[in-house]
Amino acid sequence: MTEKDELDQRLAKADPALRQTPPKLSENLIAEAIAGENRLNLRDRFELLSQNLRRASVGLAVGGSAAAVAVALVITSTPQPLIQLSGMQGARNSESAAAQLDAGSDKMMMPFNYFEFLPGPNLSDESGSGEVYKLVRQSTPEEVLKNVANVFGVEGSIKKYPDFAETNPGYFFGQSDDPWGYDGENPVISLWWSGTASWNYSNPIAFPQSSCEETDADGNCTTWTEFQPTPELLPTEAEALAKALEVFNATGLEVTKEQIRIDSSEWGVSASASMYVDGQPTNVEWYLGWSSTGELSYAGGHSVAAEAMGTFDTISALSAVDLLADWRWSGSPSGIYYQRFQPRAISEPAPFVKTDDTRTESSPSEGSAGDSSVGDESMPEPQPEPQTLTLTILEAEKALLSVWDASGEVWLVPGWILINDQGWFGAVIAVIEGVIQLPEETDFGIMPLPDGDSGVSNK
């Protein structure tokens, strides 16, 4: 028996799939995934928020915040659309009230709810106009990375990520030899040279590491180190503000202490600030965070400046309510709005529909055809009943919303923050349709699959 054979045999015996029979996934899952493009649950939205945070970037020498070039031009209509929105718009900008309130937990399949939006009595039917900005990347990837590396004291060299196209490449700066820059030991700065040219600093050794404290007779770990908060190691709010101001200014965000938001717990501290354009906060944000060890562990920003593209007609708040249900009209507002408005439950929690806590810890032979958990997989599942929920829009505020166009560029457009009677909001683009070309709606019609068709193999 060769050495390779021995290793492969040990690996084969250790395959985690041998101890847990993979569930048989229904083909309906694909159809539902296709249909799911138009709705995002609360967790998805938070994940997108997280992505937005990590997409934060620098406005280096040019000064990202208010480097807007004013163009004294009022445009009431355009022969060609100014912005052709991305088909990913609904995924990138997911603030519709329906999406936010159609929340589900990790363990529960929630019924898909239909939402109906009604205008409240105080909404204005007055249309107007607003400035549209294009976010233009500044400097070069090399200069951005060098500047950020200097700010955080990171040593290393610039490498290109292997999976990015030449038109929008990604880079990282650090000492890691890993193709993705993460070796779990060295700090790394990532930069995505598309959209707002966002960069992200991550220091893996700033996080506490878990270790095994007790093992059973077979040597399996039974007790892992339980992390304890160490608030005494964390910076004070004043210290965090001072450091955030220093880092944000050094990486191109012109911001004052008053514009920096601090979020702290016994587990860590984070600071964030929006890039302001024409006095309005945007979702182009810088952030900085300390782990429970008190070490600076992550940060992010952008290298971008806003270029004014002209003033365009906008729809009224009343008209905007009609667009709330269409994901293609959603835009991304500043994180400030998420701090101001928090959703609350609008109905009783949906019934627990499906869970599978049946874990097969037995040997492979025991987890075969006779396994009851496998048998359960083939049983038809109860179908959740959708319900229609009515939300009344009580107030509206003007805001600058970011949207992605079809070529991967980011724009800031006038929008409406529509606040509903459940305390949450939807962000709707207010620019008239002639200025913006919407992506096509998706056809969700799925034909049933023929019996006996086993699908397409990859080999």
């Binding site: 050495e3 290793l7 040990r10 690996l11 084969a12 250790a14 395959d15 985690p16 799939a17 847990q20 029979t21 993979p22 569930p23 048989k24 996934l25 083909e27 899952l29 694909i30 995934a33 296709i34 799911g36 493009e37 994940e47 990790d106 363990k107 399949m109 292997p162 890993d178 193709p179 993705w180 993460y182 070796d183 991550s202 893996p204 996080f207 093992t215 040597g219 399996n220 770990c221 992390f227 587990w267 860590g268 984070s270 965070g289 300390w290 782990s291 429970s292 562990s297 869970t355 599978d356 049946t358 874990r359 810890e361 998706t442 969700f444 034909m447 699959l449 699908g455 397409v456 990859n458």
Partner: protein
């Protein structure tokens, strides 16, 4: 690509995706994560490399797993969500069958763990596995050999 074409092409990969996920997450999460994998695949369907759709799905599934793990960790601490990506089978899952292998596994980098997993567990060829990382087959072959040697060295040093 129409929804029908997408469904016809990708439904054959459901068992493989289920197997990939069961090695990396709790069984009760498999269905939801698989749904997320196919949602992303549908949105990015124009980017799928023809003939290497499964490798492409594994790549998406890797990112989904990574985000899922971050989400779980962030329940303990928000800051945990910013930890580096890691979507290979965990040492804890390996430890159930082979403790010493688990210890050796833990000392590998996330890339090394995933490279070995894709070939040993998912059964991909080097060419297909290289697609998952979007590096050349030659580069993957070299890095896989290095990863396997490192795993052997870790096993030897622990024994």
């Amino acid at each position: 690509m129409s929804p029908e074409e997408f469904t016809n092409l990708y439904r054959g990969f459901l068992p493989q995706i289920s197997g990939y996920l069961i090695r990396r997450c709790d069984r009760s999460d498999v269905e939801e994560l698989a749904s997320r994998v196919f949602e992303i695949a549908w949105r990015k369907r124009t980017q799928a490399p023809k003939g290497f759709e499964l490798a492409w799905l594994y790549r998406i599934a890797g990112f989904v797993i990574s985000n899922h793990r971050r989400a779980i960790r962030s329940e303990q601490s928000f800051l945990e969500r910013f930890r580096p990506s890691d979507f290979a089978p965990s040492p804890e899952d390996i430890a159930v069958a082979d403790l010493s292998l688990s210890k050796a596994w833990k000392k590998l980098s996330s890339f090394e763990r995933e490279a070995i997993s894709l070939t040993a567990f998912e059964g991909l060829s080097n060419q297909d596995a290289a697609r998952v990382f979007e590096i050349s087959p030659n580069a993957f072959t070299q890095r896989l050999a290095k990863a396997r040697n490192q795993l052997k060295a870790n096993l030897s040093s622990d024994s």
